[in-house]
Subunit: 525 residues, 2 copies
């Protein structure tokens, strides 16, 4: 990934003319992109690592796998939230880890953690570096030195069990690497979050990621059958069976542990045969409430779609779900996308069932095209954000989830909080929303916010984010549906799990990481 934006440089493009004209009109920005700095020009805070530390680590992983180089430090300087990117585009010196270490396997991770605990070195586990919640900030905590522990070399495919439908994957594999290895066995994971191209298997597990096909294949935490975790006090190997009543499920304590309780090195995942066929169907609904009710019925009925999503009027109006045509002529109303995957017979039966329900509940079928367009562009939105940031527009997303009966209330509360906060700052906002993950009892709400950047866009967004977080908690939502807590959501974790819940997390932390070296400043207040 490039250091100051999303993804790869080749995929970056200026704003489409339609959008440029639109934002020039709505937000009164010029539409001219600012120049960005090349990697070599960026000043980093001086490294505090010592020669003794570099030698100590080199003895564990090999000297060529310990780096204090400018480029390595820069590329591990944090995640990809809008505040992260805004900070990088400023001239100021950038914070960065003092060292980057690339262990080869679980045992090397264990050894590095033991060494760092002994030497009082903070450790930030690093997968794809796609966190949008400050989850990989090079926070030193109380320590002098901090290193990024890059897991990319843990990239092997272990045991594949096609009968049970499971496969063992190294934590450092990216989404495409994992899919490619599994495809060699005719299998697929089916986990396609927006970060798919860059994020890692270990990161998906550590943050409770959820992919766009979650209706069909489940959240990532649903797919996790077994976790291998290295901690400063030893190894945990959790999950012996597809289901168990052997006490508390410790897998669920280390899934979502965000590198604070240990380093996930290997994940046994539920996989499925590469689907024989995919059926695409786009729909439009007259309004969001009607569409949400239709989605609810489909998922509660068990009609088993693979993808099931609904954009609100604002998002549909901008065609934000159809990247090829953003800003173009919208379909009208609220766009919904469904896909069905599996054998031909299975897909035919399920899609017909869903079609009947959606039609009866106010949907109008639009055919395949808009659904295919959505799929085609589904990883592209972060590039659009970069182009907007470049021309002085603020663009950020946040997400929550709640029960179906609370969806309308929560959506309204968050929309109002964001609109009011940004409006009060003199930068009226466009707030859009979609449902992209559905469950029998509720759904996620994913908000996209666009406004003109204020003079200090970091402070501007911090205020809006605080208002949105408070609104989410007050309205009964969860502070994050699939982006984890990191540093950015820490202020609300107490509201989420209670003061005693926080004490329980601290007790677990003390048991596995008594020196407190693991990912300081994240998750636990």
């Amino acid at each position: 990934m490039v250091w100051d934006a999303w993804g790869v440089a080749a995929a970056h493009a200026p704003l489409p003319e339609q959008i440029r004209a639109l934002i020039a009109q709505v937000f009164a920005v010029s539409g001219e992109p600012v120049a960005r700095r090349a990697e070599g020009e960026v000043e980093l805070r001086e490294s505090r690592s010592t020669a003794a530390q570099r030698e100590g680590l080199a003895a564990l992983v090999g000297a060529e796998h310990v780096s204090g180089e400018h480029r390595d430090r820069l590329l591990h300087a944090g995640g990809k939230s809008t505040p992260d990117l805004l900070r990088r585009r400023r001239g100021a010196p950038q914070d960065a880890p003092d060292l980057v270490v690339f262990p080869a396997d679980h045992d090397q991770v264990l050894a590095v953690l033991a060494y760092c605990a002994e030497q009082s070195i903070a450790v930030v586990p690093f997968g794809g570096g796609t966190s949008v919640v400050g989850g990989v900030e090079p926070d030193r905590g109380g320590f002098d030195t901090v290193l990024a522990l890059d897991l990319r070399r843990l990239d092997s495919l272990g045991d594949v069990d096609p009968v049970s439908g499971t496969a063992v994957l190294g934590a450092g594999l990216t989404g495409p690497q994992a899919e490619q290895l599994l495809a060699g066995h005719g299998l697929s994971l089916g986990h396609f979050p927006q970060s798919f191209e860059f994020a890692s298997i270990g990161g998906f597990a550590a943050t409770r990621s959820s992919g766009q096909a979650s209706a069909g294949y489940g959240r990532f935490d649903d797919m996790v059958m077994r976790l291998k975790v290295a901690t400063p006090t030893g190894t945990l190997d959790l999950g012996r069976a597809p289901a168990s009543a052997a006490g508390p499920d410790l897998r669920e304590l280390f899934a979502g542990s965000e590198g604070v309780l240990g380093v996930i090195t290997e994940v046994t995942l539920r996989v499925h045969p590469v689907p024989e066929t995919t059926c695409y169907q786009a729909w439009t609904f007259p309004d969001f409430a009607t569409g949400a009710n239709a989605l609810r019925t489909v998922i509660q009925h068990g009609a088993a779609p693979t993808v099931l999503r609904l954009s609100d009027e604002a998002e549909t109006g901008l065609n934000l779900a159809r990247s090829g045509d953003v800003g173009g002529t919208p379909v009208g109303g609220c766009l919904a996308v469904t896909t069905f995957e599996g054998t031909a017979a299975h897909v035919a039966a399920r899609s017909a069932e869903a079609q009947e329900l959606l039609t009866a509940l106010g949907g109008t079928a639009l055919g395949e095209q808009a659904a295919r367009e959505w799929e085609h562009g589904r990883f592209a939105a972060p590039y659009l954000r970069d182009a907007l940031l470049d021309v002085g527009v603020l663009c950020e997303t946040l997400e929550t989830a709640t029960g179906w009966s609370n969806i309308a209330h929560l959506k309204q509360a968050v929309t109002t909080a964001l609109g009011d906060s940004l409006g009060a700052q003199g930068t009226p906002a466009l707030v859009m929303c979609h449902i992209s993950h559905t469950y029998p009892t509720g759904a996620s709400l994913y908000f996209t916010v666009v406004a003109k950047q204020a003079e200090d866009p970091l402070a501007q967004w911090a205020r809006a984010k605080r208002a949105a977080g408070d609104a989410i908690v007050d309205a009964g939502g969860t502070i994050t549906h699939h982006h984890a807590v990191g540093a950015d959501h820490r202020p609300w974790i107490g509201a989420e799990i209670g003061e005693l819940g926080v004490r329980v997390l601290r007790a677990v932390k003390d048991a596995v990481d008594p020196a407190g070296i693991l990912n300081p400043g994240k998750l636990i207040p």
Copy 2:
């Protein structure tokens, strides 16, 4: 429940003549039942509670809700495993809690726990008392006094949300009470374990119960949306949304916590409309491996049965799945039972899909009758066990789970271990097995063991159980699929979660129950 056997006295019956003749022949027992003792004749260990304790507790819950009476103590003396029942049928004095306390609500539970922590009184949370793993043994731990905290008064139905499909249920509600309250709203929980008639909502959550309709409605832990837990250090209220990425899922730490980490007082559960129709289909397969492969295909295909189970040749041969005809003419091969529930159209589509798969994979349809017989008798097996125990036959069950590719190996390993152990003790055993819970990646194996009682049947079973537990762990199974750890499975919890996993549990325990009063001797070694 009666004190020394399962269920209610009216449902107890002598062995059917066919079984009596069979076991007389196979196990050389007379078939004449021994006389059992009336409640009043049973000697209990003297209560160690003091007047001050009774007054202190009475001040919290009312004097009429604190009992030191013989009958109350006797009915809270422990669970319903075969060793429990064998111990009760001996003449020796019975261990029992010193007091039984019946709190009215969450706040009273909190107050009782705070009082007991201060006064050093051990607390055994008590729901239906159906544990088969020593989960409600009146173990004093290091304390002088132990009380049973009976939750039956926490029996209210709270908020019902038909849109989200959730309902808030008091921990003390039994299965039938919960279903009856929900039926008033046209809803059902669909959790039907063998203990359904007596066990409680709180107990289901605390032990990770799994019901016979788990293929359709999930395990109980899948249904738990929110848990309210009272601990000696305060309240936990866990689970704000249908799905969340806000760190470790603490709900999953308190589900399965077996009264050791807190007292579950209220559970928000996923519910569904009372099904419009149920389709019953019984099948026979030529052998267990063929049947298991067919079940696997059905569940991996997403054909969505409600019930999906398969008896092995031995269990089918005895007709053990068809209580009305146990010992009668079997269907031959391996009996499988499927049911499908929902709307008429949904059921028709899913059952047709499954029928096609099962037929193609070697199944022969038997029609409805055997499936209806199974359902009719599905809560009756524990009564049959009582009748067998009465005539000198040992009968016990145990269960595990593993990945599909390991099912045959694990079944063989456990069958051999049980057979060898009991055979070596001069009491050759009949070991039967069924699959009653299926998942995309694996299934449960539920074993029933029958042998002649040795002179010391407790020692006899302890040896066999040890052999089976070791075999399960060695062969890669979980030590319990749906009966929890309790006292009986504690020797294997280290193998299940590792030494560091045990330390994590201890750390959580110390955080929420620093005095260590909660359910001593269970779960954590």
